[in-house]
Every structure is written in structure tokens, then in C-alpha cells.
Symmetry: C2
Subunit: 240 residues, 2 copies
């Protein structure tokens, strides 16, 4: 699995970063999860997560395991620490449960920042790693990146002629979303891009060429860093 | 807690014995428990253990944690090993659940020996550590042992005169149970005791004197061994 080395490759500081896993670090997490579970009920997790009588007991207990890291510094070092959770909205139910329990076990409530979902390269919807056609993986080669970007859903006209006449719709264009979220830092240039697309000046091929080049440059660099990061993974483990 | 050193004091071989705890060794147990839980449902554990919607998720998951040690050698060393569980009948539901799951995760079904409950010193029922009057603790002093044994429920007559005339009832006598289970190894002497009690020859004071002496001798020796065992506890830990 590349997960850990990807994190390191994007620049997390090993002095401030602790990587842990539910399965490999249960010595640390399970005792905290048990405390949390004591202040919860099947009714509660059933209501929040839509469990039913066929749900396996591991899933019923899982919200408590998921909540445990919120109290890690407080539990491990005995100094009450507020936890800030950057996660997308789909994880929100876990932190609501956690906030309900926090005070009952003597800790601060964790707080959260809702991150936006990265859009996919298809029409609408979030990027899903299970749809390989519309998701760019951090392991993709330049050829695959090119193919995916050139197959992406854009806001361009049905033909070049139509595009030149009526202009494009950047608001529904997945390539534009990619610039907006990740690959164009300048708000000014984004504004210009919208303008020139809407009047049919910039065509989809132009955008796809630039995006392909930027994604490829980022990934080649990232993949190099990740190779180096592999040897450093253990420095990040909570058990170090 | 004396639990671990008590086990060592009664003579378990450190080369063949591994002591572990759900909370201290979850790194080992939790990943196995998760596998087990996947082949179970809330309906199943609800039915077996009488859980309801107010039950905490830790309890709902606990049967999977309790089942995990049955597969420890198989999981840790990759060599399929049959597990024999010596436990009293109240633990039986856990092993039934475990036997249902075993084959599904590729392991042998565990097998069990039902141990008898040790009777208390009161009238009927099993010994309960929460009833300090009718339970002898391994930490009790000779004075407390004497007091407990002399206050115990016996099968003796209402008065010495009555006992001499009508005899006693060893079958309901807690002191006799103590001889039977723990402190009289000779079946011959047990048979003699029954006989002489029933004809009123042996009186309760005789039995209580002998039992007090034997329990005290055992406990003083045990407490000495336990003190020594304390330093050896870590040799028994599964993490050694």
C-alpha cells in the first residue's frame, strides 16, 4: 500500500506527524474505544449509521474505534488537547457521535473542518477511486494521465464550430474543476480562463494540454518523493 | 491485581503459558476479533447474550474479542492448532458462537471442558467473589479463614444432641464440598467422612477444625509463592 508514503511525499513533518492503523495499533486505540463505547448504545449507532440486525458486531463497534484518535494526545500524554479533524462531510457522523461522548469521558469535544470532495473527470459527482476511468491515481504513468484527461467530461461545445460560436460552460467542466482545486493557484488566471472559455476563445484541447502537462509534472515529482519516502515510513509510525 | 501472580503460584509452566489481556494485547487480539465479527451479526449476539438496543457497542463486539484467543496459535504461528477451553458452563455461549465461526475463517472449532463451579460457604449456590462472607479469597489471613469456615453453612444437626442422635447431611454441607473439591484427595477418607457424619460420630466442629487447618496451610504456602511469582509475571506475557 502506498497510503503512508503518499502522505510523507506531500510534505508532512515527521516530528509532528504520527501514522497509525486500527489493526496495527489496536493496543493504543482499543482501550480508548472501549471507554467511548461505554457511553454509547446500539440504538445510537444504529440511528446514525443506518445499522440493522444483520450488521456485523465489528461495524457496530467501529465508530468507537474511529472516534478514539480524537483523544489520542489527551489519553497518551495526560494533557488535555483539542483535536481538529480535516475530513470530508461523509465522515461527519463519526465526529458528531464523538462530540456527544467527549465530555462524558473527561475530554474536550473534537472540532472539524469539512474538506470539499475532489470532483472526478466524468460528468458531475466526486472522484471515486473505484472508477479508474475518471480518477487520476498517484501511481498513474504520464500516458495514462494523458488518456484520462483527454477522455474527461468538459463544458465545451458539441463541435469546434459550435464552441467558437456559443462558447463553453466552465461551471460544469471537470478540467476547469481540476484547475480550480489543484492546478492553477492564481485567481486572476482562473478568471481569465472562465472568460475566454465562455466566449469560445480557449478551446477544450488547450485546457487539456495544459492540465495534462501540469498533472504529469506533479505526479512524476510526487512519485520520486514517494520512492524516497518508503524508507522513512517507520519514522512516522506512532510506535516509533 | 493478583490474578497473574496467582496463576503462576499454582504452578503453570512459563515455557508453555502465555498470559494476555484484552486491553494490553489488543494488537494481537483485535485483528483476529475483526475477522470473527465479520461472520457474525447483531441478531446472533443479541440472541445468545440477551443484548438489546441499549447495549453498548463494546459489549456487542466483546464476544468476538473473547473468541479471538481460540485461534491465537493458528493465527500467530500459521500452524492450525486445536484449542481446548477449560471454563465453567456460564462461558459456554461464547464458545458456541466461536465454533459457528471457526470453519468460516479457516480454523478448527475450539473444544471445551466444562469445569464445575466451586461452591460457596453459604447455603447452596456457587462461590461468588462479591460475597466476602462466603468466599475464601487467596489473600485472606489465617484469622479470616478461621472466621469464614466457622461461620459456614453445614449439614449438621440443630444442636449437638440432635446431631449425635440423627446424624448430619454431608450432601448439603459446604464444608464437605470443600473437602470433596479441594482439600481431601483420598476417596476412601471422603467415604469414611460421609459415613461418620451420617451416624453423628463426626461433628461439625471436627470438620471445621480440619478444614481451617488445611485451607490455612495451603494459603500461607500459596501467598509465599505468589510473592515470588510477582517478579516472574512478565516472563508469562504473550509479548515477552
Amino acid at each position: 500500500m502506498y497510503n503512508n508514503s503518499n502522505l510523507i511525499a506531500v510534505g508532512f513533518n515527521p516530528k509532528k506527524t504520527y501514522i497509525f492503523s486500527d489493526l496495527n495499533n489496536s493496543d493504543t486505540l482499543y482501550p480508548i474505544a472501549v471507554k467511548i463505547a461505554k457511553h454509547s448504545t446500539f440504538s445510537t449507532v444504529k440511528g446514525i449509521f443506518g445499522f440493522n440486525h444483520e450488521t456485523n458486531p465489528g461495524m457496530i463497534f467501529f465508530p468507537a474505534m474511529q472516534a478514539a484518535p480524537c483523544f489520542l494526545p489527551s489519553e497518551l500524554y495526560g494533557k488535555e488537547t483539542v483535536c481538529l479533524i480535516p475530513a470530508a462531510i461523509d465522515q461527519d457522523p463519526y465526529w458528531r457521535l464523538t462530540r456527544d461522548v467527549a465530555n462524558k469521558i473527561g475530554h474536550y469535544k473534537p472540532v472539524q473542518i469539512h474538506c470539499k470532495f475532489l470532483p472526478g473527470l466524468g460528468k458531475g459527482g466526486k472522484m471515486s477511486s473505484s472508477d479508474s476511468g475518471t480518477a487520476i491515481y498517484t501511481t498513474d504513468s504520464p500516458d495514462r494521465v494523458k488518456k484520462k484527461v483527454w477522455n474527461s467530461f468538459t463544458g465545451g461545445g458539441g463541435s469546434l464550430k459550435e464552441h467558437r460560436e456559443k462558447g463553453g460552460k466552465p461551471q460544469i467542466c471537470s478540467v476547469y474543476q481540476y484547475f480550480l482545486y489543484l492546478f492553477e493557484e492564481s485567481d486572476e488566471r482562473l478568471a481569465e480562463l472562465i472568460k475566454s472559455c465562455k466566449i469560445g476563445e480557449t478551446i477544450c484541447g488547450d485546457c487539456k494540454t495544459v492540465l495534462t502537462e501540469r498533472v504529469t509534472r506533479f505526479l512524476l515529482e510526487h512519485q520520486k518523493k514517494r520512492e524516497k519516502a518508503k524508507d522513512a515510513v517507520e519514522e512516522f509510525f506512532i510506535t516509533r
